[in-house]
Symmetry: C2
Subunit: 414 residues, 2 copies
């Protein structure tokens, strides 16, 4: 890599200006944004992006899944494409940084490359993927681009079919278009994404950049502890088969076990539902919404077995029945080692500290990881806030991330 290339930097003021313009669209009173995918606010943000791309002199592209992008072509029209990107949709009442930073940084990288007349061996495309957050389907645009999207995904979306159909009509999208947005793997040189961490590990360790090792997989279950409804006054304590005891003991023990035996994994009991659910009736049934994540496929199997064993043990301990209903899984996605190396070299060159990190959250990269080399970097989130208007990343950290993205793209695209 020549000295000229390695001294290239993005334009912080230009990036900040564009970032701030975008943050006004769907803005909430508490400095957040409310741009659920294909909502009016989200489509307004996309309209702004479309105009901004064309006003910046780039070719604008969209596909059957509604993904929006700017293209910086290379001299060789048949060269594969290195995609840089993220998403403009937010969770309801989310923050300004999640997704938006990655899209605007990708576009800023394109601007920097073009104004410095850098001619890479790949096409570079700055991408805004549709519905990363899952208010409709989740990782929708990237799954469509990767050819993973199925008719079933669209028939039973997690946000409800009605909401999806309304959003598609609003955006002028069709199911046939969605299902035909796949790109051929040979056209893809890779996918790079800059994102905020959504956790505290970088902040706590004082590290500038997290280089993602893997996007964790997610398995989820509904566990049902079954006891017996009894009069909560006249039934002696020792005669009760109280479903709350199994659910409570499992919740505590699962946390302890994961922290002790599976330090790379996380577990969450996000909800319990009690039946009959009255002050004066011993709970006959408690449904537990269980989710756990691991960056490693083999560890997942062990964790899964350990959690199910634990639930069974707690049910026996309190004289309860147990039903387990599997709710679904995403496999963990390993990030490409060459891309990780390019990120690390870029950090070293820029004088930025870095550390390897798994991503506990899902990202569009996991849709693409079996098609092409994929890598992600994180920048620190103040107090780890995520999916909240409190979400905040210092601007210098945002600029650091954009420069690492630029330098990694240069390394991979030369």
């Amino acid at each position: 890599m020549t000295q000229a290339f390695s001294s290239l930097r993005i334009n912080s003021d230009r990036l900040l200006d564009a970032f701030n313009q975008l943050a006004l669209i769907g803005a909430t009173a508490d400095s957040g944004v409310d741009r659920p995918s294909l909502s009016e606010a989200h489509l307004a943000a996309r309209k702004w992006l479309h105009e901004h791309i064309e006003a910046s002199g780039f070719e604008f592209r969209t596909d059957g899944a509604g993904n929006h992008s700017a293209v910086l072509p290379c001299d060789e029209p048949s060269a594969p494409t290195l995609i840089l990107g993220s998403h403009l949709d937010s969770v309801p009442n989310g923050g300004r940084f999640d997704g938006a930073l990655g899209v605007m940084a990708a576009l800023e990288v394109l601007k920097t490359l073009r104004e410095n007349r850098i001619n890479l061996k790949v096409q570079i495309e700055a991408m805004d993927f549709t519905d990363e957050e899952g208010t409709l389907v989740g990782l929708l645009g990237s799954a469509a681009l990767a050819g993973h999207l199925s008719k079933e995904n669209l028939e039973k979306p997690r946000g409800g079919r009605e909401r999806l159909v309304e959003g598609m009509m609003r955006a002028g999208l069709t199911e046939a278009g969605m299902l035909s947005a796949a790109r051929k793997p040979e056209t893809l040189a890779g996918y790079l994404e800059l994102h905020i961490e959504q956790g505290k590990r970088l902040e706590k360790s004082g590290t500038d950049i997290g280089i993602v090792t893997a996007i964790v997989g997610i398995w989820s279950y509904k566990l049902t502890f079954l006891g017996k409804a009894d009069h909560a006054g006249s039934t002696a304590m020792e005669d009760r088969r109280d479903a709350s005891l199994g659910a409570s003991a499992f919740t505590l023990a699962a946390r302890e076990m994961v922290m002790r035996d599976f330090p790379n994994c996380v577990v969450n009991v996000g909800k319990m539902e009690f039946a009959p659910g009255a002050f004066n009736i011993v709970p006959a049934q408690v449904d537990v919404s269980l989710e756990f994540r691991s960056p490693d496929a083999a560890e997942f199997e062990r964790l899964n077995q350990a959690l199910l064993n634990l639930a069974g043990e707690q049910a026996v301990r309190f004289g309860l029945g147990l039903q387990t209903e599997f709710f679904g899984k995403h496999a963990p996605s390993l990030m490409d080692t060459d891309v990780r190396g390019a990120f690390a070299n870029a950090c070293d060159e820029l004088g930025l500290s870095h550390m390897p990190l798994p991503s506990g959250a899902g990202h569009d990269g996991q849709s693409l990881a079996d098609l092409c080399p994929v890598g992600m970097i994180f920048v620190p989130s103040v107090d780890g806030a995520s999916h909240s208007p409190r979400e905040f990343t210092k601007w210098e950290d945002c600029v650091n991330g954009a420069n690492v993205l630029l330098q990694a793209a240069l390394r991979l695209g030369m």
Copy 2:
């Protein structure tokens, strides 16, 4: 007590015949009854009772609260009244024995006294109280009779105002009537009730009769454990403030503490509500519906303090906030020692084993306990089933209970 009186027995066949006729009204396919207070089925049962009382040659009475009764007057018109009774209403899809046994046994005692020309020093009244179970207000008829009923009780009934008003219209009752049904304490000689146990203590110990020591009081709270909603993938386990941990640890620890330190008391976590309540979000808030019961006022204060301390400790342990909202209380009601003695003597005379027991459930006696001497006896419930079509008591146990009621009434009324 003369030998002639102590050899008196109720007529088992006559009681069984009346009990079975009543059990057909509002009967469900699974041998239970569905007679919520002032429902069509409940009013049909009361119509049957009214006719049965008059066909049996007793004076029928009803009051402004809809309480139905049969009266066996004594020679002295100004003598106070010893009430024997229970209730004909049931919980939704309840059992045949709860309440109905006590009313029919009371009426059978009157029949036995009259056919044996027993002239007591008190009026004897066999009473069916309105809405013992609380599908409308709870202990409504007995509270009205005791003069405890307030306009507020009728304005915010636990079953909802609309349901109460509909029921009152159906039964031809008015608020003014309800509030004017109070009797003067000096007109009451006492209140005796036979009821099924609704627990397993008699069955497990092989005891014929439980002599109630106190009707337990009930205190209830909503405890709210407050944490922080975070991304359940990207937030490290040790950084979470997970409200489910406080709620779960409290639930387990409260049970252990009550069983260890408060063996006469019970505690129930009947419901938890999670917010936001999603698979992939760390619970920010868990509302715990807590109820606890004690037969002893001083112990109540200690139990209350111990439970609130425990909740506070578990909140601190997991870095959570805690809000406590007091939902209400009923004080425990001590049963009269003379009445308990009369029951014990009656059991001894009848060759029946007996044991003292607190009543974990509420009963109409608690409305009357500060007006006149009150006592209750329990007969064994098979498997402790209660508020369920599975509710069952062997007929010989029902007959034993009715004979103890008769003999206690003789002892108290001579």
